[in-house]
Homo-oligomer: 331 residues x 2
Amino acid sequence: MAAAKAAKAKFGEFERIARYFAPLAGPGALGLLDDAALIEGPPGEQYVLTTDTIVENVHFLSDDPPDQVARKLLRVNLSDLAAKGAAPVGYLLNTSLPKSRGEAWLEAFAQGLAADQAEFGIALLGGDSVASSGPLCLTVTAIGRVRAGKAVLRRGAQQGDWIYCSGTLGDAALGLRYLRGELTGSDAAAGNYLAGRYRLPQPRLSLGQKLAEIAHAMLDISDGLVADLGHICEVSKVGATIEELLAPLSPAFRQALTADPSLLSLALTGGDDYELLFTAAPEAGPKLKTLAAELGVSVTRIGTIEAGQGVRVLGPSGAALDLAQGGYRHF
Amino acid sequence: MAAAKAAKAKFGEFERIARYFAPLAGPGALGLLDDAALIEGPPGEQYVLTTDTIVENVHFLSDDPPDQVARKLLRVNLSDLAAKGAAPVGYLLNTSLPKSRGEAWLEAFAQGLAADQAEFGIALLGGDSVASSGPLCLTVTAIGRVRAGKAVLRRGAQQGDWIYCSGTLGDAALGLRYLRGELTGSDAAAGNYLAGRYRLPQPRLSLGQKLAEIAHAMLDISDGLVADLGHICEVSKVGATIEELLAPLSPAFRQALTADPSLLSLALTGGDDYELLFTAAPEAGPKLKTLAAELGVSVTRIGTIEAGQGVRVLGPSGAALDLAQGGYRHF
């Protein structure tokens, strides 16, 4: 995905959804606030439906390896299922292909899908293929299943909850810089690690499913920690305080930080990590520790849900950072 | 949708699907041969999933009224549900919008969706909105429900079945010609009727649901009668003979025919009618007659399923028309 613009082009997206599409939303649509919908499933279950579209030269570059485009497309959808606590069932695929895309591109694209189908135990259910004069436009709609009533929504955060995230933060944003040749303080091993985190996110499906019994609110971090925590706060009608020093960082991220300490803000604002961000009662701490050890995924407490609204970030001195000065929305 | 190219750009689509995507298909995908997938639903039910993508300047024109673009997009998906015998549940919407599309366009688009939601009793469940440098690209994924085991597939046609279609044929193809100014033998009333048939197809949802108990094989006619009947024959491993003179024609179509008898072939080959094409046992005849009367939709027998393969069309003299001479695939 190299030098592509990483973030979804979201200018005005939330406002447009609220204005034009939210009035069209039915039961199960969760007010279009959750990046997923719920419909009745087999006895004791619900289906989770989620969908993402990616466009050439917006979300990926024309010369990005097609198998990686396929896998990232699938994984960002699987990550949405993980954030609901759902197990994947299958997916639909829509391709709008310019004529310039030949058989070789399509073959590699399908190989990427096959690899991830095997890795995540899902299969293609259907789709549509059309020709287009314009940039490649790809949509996946993923279907997952979750125990009835157990899907974790964004709106469930409660005052006093502890705030956690999985894995490490900011790697994908640094990876994009590395691929663009903008990250000079990293050796090749660290650079490749970061690039891999950007190119091939790891949907936290096992963790997400376990968290269905524990988390009060959850989403996957695609817009950056502060922005996404802001989404939870907004729909849960709560505030949040997190500490910059608690943000979990990879060794590769720390290496880059040594060369340029200003990169730290990317751990709070960089998008595309697709780690889970969730809140849970403080008593859940021991259970989360056990779970993380069992699954081999780190789970780090980074703050607390409070009364009020908005996200406060405490810097190293304990003083709140000035989010209004920008840099905390990456688009 | 005026002067846009009506047909999906399908060159090689079937071959590409068979080669690259069919190997990825899982249970419920129906081999990607049915324009729909089936997954387990609430007790006694299955969900039908179907999806269609439309692209500006391929499937509709830049200056087409946005509300009609919205409604056609929704209706072609609802028509796929009708062809499975399913009742609509809801839909997901993906929009990839160039910046040139302003608020007025989006508002009218949403109004079109709202109108059809009210008409067909469905609601928006979710979706994704992204920005694009290229042509407008729109995807709807529709979800329907059907009694378990009762979805009508394309593969069920049996030797001796009678072949039926709903409504009238060829209207949409003539409507497109009228909108292009290529239809000179029609008065304004007829022209407007035909244009309406092209712009706003009528998904035969009530009829489709009733046919779930009767039809052996079914689809909706989007590629033209002969091509679509060919799809049924291919997956059912049967042949078919239909009679040109039995094709049901609207008064507006007959008016155009008076001026130009060569237009008759459009009833067999014109796409975009979205009428139901199905096969049923000969004994079902009386039941179908009653059903058609109850629903106020015409149902016309046009031929018979036979052993063998392929579609034979008998002309007025009773001799088979030469399909190999072309004109019977509209793309």
